[in-house]
């Protein structure tokens, strides 16, 4: 997924001492502001494209906005950040999303 370019104001991530600081702490927009939140998961949502009818309810309800629509129009879950709330699993009208217990291989294979 292409990363958005957000404006960088001074290299604030590389403070070495108090003399490098701007007067006020300002944070900049960042994906993963709390890190790779994908490791919060116990269960992982897996989309079955065969059952999916591209209604985009999962995209609508996802709190974290980790669901994006690919070129073919299917929703795709960003497992680096998906927290595993399983709202999409519960809400999908076609039951096209399954919850799979998180195994180490699952994360690495995505």
């Amino acid at each position: 997924m292409p990363e958005k370019k957000y404006w960088k104001w001074k290299e604030i991530e590389n403070h070495a001492s108090i003399d490098d600081l701007p007067p006020v702490p300002l944070s900049l927009p960042n994906y993963g502001s709390m890190g790779a939140t994908g490791d919060w998961r116990t269960f992982c949502p897996v989309i079955n494209k065969a059952k999916c009818n591209q209604c985009y309810f999962c995209w609508m309800y996802c709190p974290e906005a980790v669901i994006e629509i690919d070129e073919e129009g299917y929703p795709e879950i960003d497992l680096e950040y998906c927290k595993g709330c399983l709202i999409c699993v519960h809400e999908c009208p076609k039951k096209a999303i399954e919850q799979v217990r998180e195994e180490k291989e699952q994360v690495e294979s995505e």
Partner: protein, 310 residues
């Protein structure tokens, strides 16, 4: 009629304004609300967030989730800070007439609106400050660990009401309607597109606009995270939460609430209460009191609609 397939591709609504990987809880109702509010308001928005969950869900310095100017603010100061920002923008526009309009949004929790923030909100509404105030209501002080607030409903468990709250929820949308502001609405995360449409409408009106969003909280209300949207839906379907808007004084029910005026059409409130651990110890007498409160709420709304001259 909004179409999700169009929204996905829309240049404003298809964007994300609260980046993934932030520190909000999994399944956060407030996050669903914020996501759809920002999809309606777009990039030219300044957000003031008084102390609430949404001061700690935004990630840790120097990284942040919001992609718009986002100002954490002291607890009681949300609405007044917005008044100041609006005045500052007006002053800037005098020096630089090419400055395009920027929406000013105060995104506050129920504590920061109903309790400590109500003075500032009332003052800003009386001054007719041109901004949108949205209260995302998770019905307790969730940031500090689920203490009761003025928005906690009767009978709900919180850490400061362990045997259930003995008072009813404060009706802030009606308080704001009494201020005579041009737009007041309620919404629920169970119906994000209804919220989206209401924010779009608020954006087009000049003056103070108030929207009160019910935002279920999985850790605070004690339910599994996957039910977050369903709890928001059940609240509306049982009549516990009513979706309406008061547009320049004219009241109209929206979404599923339109069809729930008759008591029989509402689902029994147990369907809503049984989903949540915070109502685990609620007695039949409590449920009766809650039911009476809901019925009174509906009859007041019905009277307003019946007597208004449309």
């Amino acid at each position: 009629m909004v179409n999700l397939r169009d929204l996905v591709k829309d240049p404003v609504a298809g964007e994300e304004y609260f980046l993934k990987g932030n520190s909000s809880c999994a399944g956060c109702g407030g996050e669903v609300a914020f996501r759809w509010i920002m999809k309606a308001l777009g990039k030219r928005t300044i957000v003031v967030a008084p102390a609430s969950c949404f001061n700690v869900t935004i990630g840790l310095y120097p990284r942040a989730g919001p992609t718009i100017p986002y100002l954490n603010m002291a607890f009681a100061a949300g609405a007044a800070a917005c008044s100041g920002i609006v005045a500052g923008l007006a002053a800037r526009k005098k020096l630089d007439p090419s400055l395009e309009d920027i929406n000013v949004l105060c995104f506050a929790g129920d504590g920061g609106t109903i309790d400590i923030g109500i003075q500032g909100l009332s003052g800003a509404a009386e001054r007719e400050t041109d901004f949108i105030y949205i209260c995302y209501d998770n019905e307790a002080y969730m940031n500090t660990g689920t203490q009761r607030s003025g928005g906690t409903p009767f009978g709900a468990w919180t850490t400061t009401t362990p045997t259930g709250k003995k008072q009813h929820k404060k009706n802030v949308p009606m308080i704001m309607a009494a201020h005579g502001i041009p737009y007041v609405a309620t919404a629920s995360t169970g119906y994000p597109l209804d919220l989206y449409k209401k924010v779009l409408k608020a954006k087009s009106i000049k003056g103070t606009k108030y929207i009160h969003v019910l935002a279920p909280c999985a850790p605070g209300w004690r339910f599994p995270t996957e039910l977050s949207i369903e709890v928001g839906r059940k609240a509306v379907q049982t009549g516990m939460w009513v979706l309406y808007e008061i547009d320049h004084g004219e009241m109209a029910l929206t979404g599923p609430s339109k069809y729930l005026i008759k008591k029989e059409s509402r689902k029994p409130i147990e369907e809503y209460l049984n989903l949540q651990g915070r109502y685990k110890n609620v007695t039949p007498e409590d449920i009766k009191i809650l039911q009476e409160w809901i019925d009174k709420q509906w009859s007041d709304l019905k009277n307003w609609i019946a007597t208004q001259v449309s």
